[in-house]
Amino acid sequence: MENGYLIKTENLVKTYPMGYGSLVALNRVNLAFQKGEFAGLVGPSGSGKTTLLNIIGSLDVPTEGSTMVLGEKIESLSHKKAAHLRNQHIGFIFQTFNLLPVYTVFENVEFPLLLLGMPAEERKNTVMKALEWVHLADRAKSKPAQLSGGESQRVAIARAIVKEPEIMLADEPTANLDAENSHNILQIMERLNKELSTTFIFATHDEKVMHYLRRKITLVDGAVAKDEILKPQQGGGEN
């Protein structure tokens, strides 16, 4: 990647029109993430965490500034190219799980692979492997409505990880889970990070999440107020 960075934002500004003026959601954000990071965006509600994650994930575009993700300039990607980038390289985990309700667990996890055009046999093995990662291989045939919150989020993790993306973006992944389930999924994510060197970026309020983070970025009013390294990078990475 360019300068060894997986993700790099430069003077990122996001404003929303509001009445006569505008609301500044992100204010000149300069951040860089390397491969294998396990980082969290923290800060009060409305500080711009979700907005930043969405821009990194190519779901949104900044008003000003630029974002490089995996060597691609997000702002100038066509809609189609952005979709392709997300499909191949970025996994999303949402606060509300966002499983597809009419699909089974297996079909939910299979979905990104279908879009990628993976052959059936390989697809099946890959899905089952991802479900084993989250300890849900035995629930492959269940429907999302039959799962607990913790199980649902684990399916969502399997769906995000199944294509082995470079980047995982998790927006409040534990907000709807109890302590036990929160720790459970955080441990799974930590393991994925260690074994697959997947880069994780969280947006969170949750104290439990903070214990796992190796880097904590505090946003206040859309600007980076603090950027701390809590633990050394995994795998002796380039700091």
């Binding site: 779901l59 979709a83 966002n98 597809l100 279908l114 879009l115």
Partner: protein, 390 residues
């Protein structure tokens, strides 16, 4: 091929909601085809009845005969030409003489046509044999509509007045010997049937006729000097025209039916695009492009049309076959509606009708499914994920 597969998964996965729509839509299919089949049957039956009772295999008209111009009728008769007489002698044709006249049922004047027919003819199904009764001065056969409108009953005497070939008025008391019940109005309304020989005598038009009906099995009839051959296509053009108008009228019902069912699809389509916003956001986050998202949602609507077609085939085909075989016994009222039909109506389902209906419904379903999805094309993934409206 991924998108059609996902669409099918979504449609089948949606369960009851899908099936309700599919059932309603399949019902529309079946009702349209069923009703249209009956109208086809109605028209076909009316045509057949007309052919059997009046047109046979076609008619030779005296060159001056024009059924739409009663003033020419006075001259529209002539001695039957030799080749035509040959057909008649061979039982391949039967002559009919038409004369203007009046009857006086209950003392009131009523202008009518007097039609002379050979009582022993077998070319058309008109029950002319009842005119064999020779003891009557002038035996008369009328149709049930004519009987109703004149109040005449079997055995009644009625004064018949006509002008002979020189224009002299003459009159005779005729007796109604039979009232035929027929669905063919053009052998019923405002006319009486009498024995041909008698009418020729009354009018001094011996051996003359206005037209001759030929047998339906006669091959390749040629024009005869002074007599023009009118084939069935010509003779039936009026009734076919009328059938078209009636069919067009019935189309309005289908348009309404279609419109209502399409409204249901349109409505659920809009509703689902509104309700499944978050799902769309998720699909976009997972890497589905807007174009594919539009395709997916459109296909979901179209699939409902296809499923409806399959369901319609499953219960519709036996139903349609059954009603085509069994027919439908028509109540009396249809007669007063002016429909020329028999007592049992057999629907006719043509491939054209069935394929046409399916194609029409599928095309409309596709359009109706597509239109609401255009909203997706300016949907932002972030808005969609939040489940809010843009």
């Amino acid at each position: 091929m991924v998108i059609p597969r996902l669409a099918l998964r979504n449609v089948l996965g949606a369960g009851l909601r899908t099936w309700l729509k599919v059932v309603v839509l399949s019902f529309v299919f079946v009702v349209i085809i069923w009703a249209q089949g009956f109208i086809n049957g109605l028209n076909e039956q009316a045509e057949q009845a007309q052919v059997a009772a009046e047109y046979g295999g076609g008619q030779y008209w005296h060159e001056k005969y024009d059924p739409y111009d009663p003033f020419t009728l006075q001259d529209a008769h002539g001695r039957i030409a030799e080749p035509l007489q040959q057909f008649i002698d061979d039982n391949q044709a039967t002559p009919i003489l038409i004369v203007q006249g009046s009857i006086y049922p209950k003392g009131r004047l009523r202008p009518i046509l007097i039609k002379g027919i050979d009582p022993s003819q077998r070319i058309i199904s008109l029950p002319s044999h009842v005119l064999h009764l020779e003891e009557e001065d002038l035996p008369v056969l009328i149709g049930s509509r004519m009987a109703k409108s004149t109040g005449l009953q079997v055995g009644d005497f009625v004064t018949v007045q006509w002008r002979d070939v020189r224009g002299t008025f003459d009159a005779l008391d005729a007796q109604v010997v039979y009232i035929m019940s027929t669905t063919v109005q053009s052998i019923d309304n405002n006319q009486i049937w009498v024995p041909l020989k008698k009418l020729q005598m009354m009018t001094s038009m011996e051996d003359e006729a206005t037209l001759a009906v030929i047998d339906k099995n006669m091959e390749n009839p040629q024009n005869i000097s002074g007599w023009t051959f009118k084939n069935l296509d010509f003779l039936l053009s009026d009734i076919r025209q009328l059938a078209k108008v009636k069919t067009f009228g019935s189309m309005i019902i289908y348009v309404i039916l279609l419109f209502l069912s399409m409204l249901a699809i349109f409505d659920t389509q809009i509703l689902s695009i509104f309700r499944r916003r978050k799902e769309m956001g998720t699909l976009m986050a997972l890497g589905l492009t807007r174009g594919k998202l539009i395709l997916l949602f459109t296909l979901e609507g179209v699939l409902q049309g296809i499923l409806a077609a399959i369901m319609a085939a499953i219960y519709g085909v036996p139903l349609l076959l059954y009603s085509a075989a069994k027919g439908w016994t028509m109540p009396q009222i249809t007669d007063s509606m002016g429909l020329a039909i028999g007592e049992t109506l057999f629907p006719v389902f043509t491939a054209e009708l069935i394929i046409g209906t399916f194609a029409l419904v599928l095309i409309i379903t596709t359009i109706v499914s597509y239109i609401p999805t255009r909203k997706i094309s300016n949907l932002k993934p972030t808005d969609a994920l939040r489940g809010s409206l843009s």
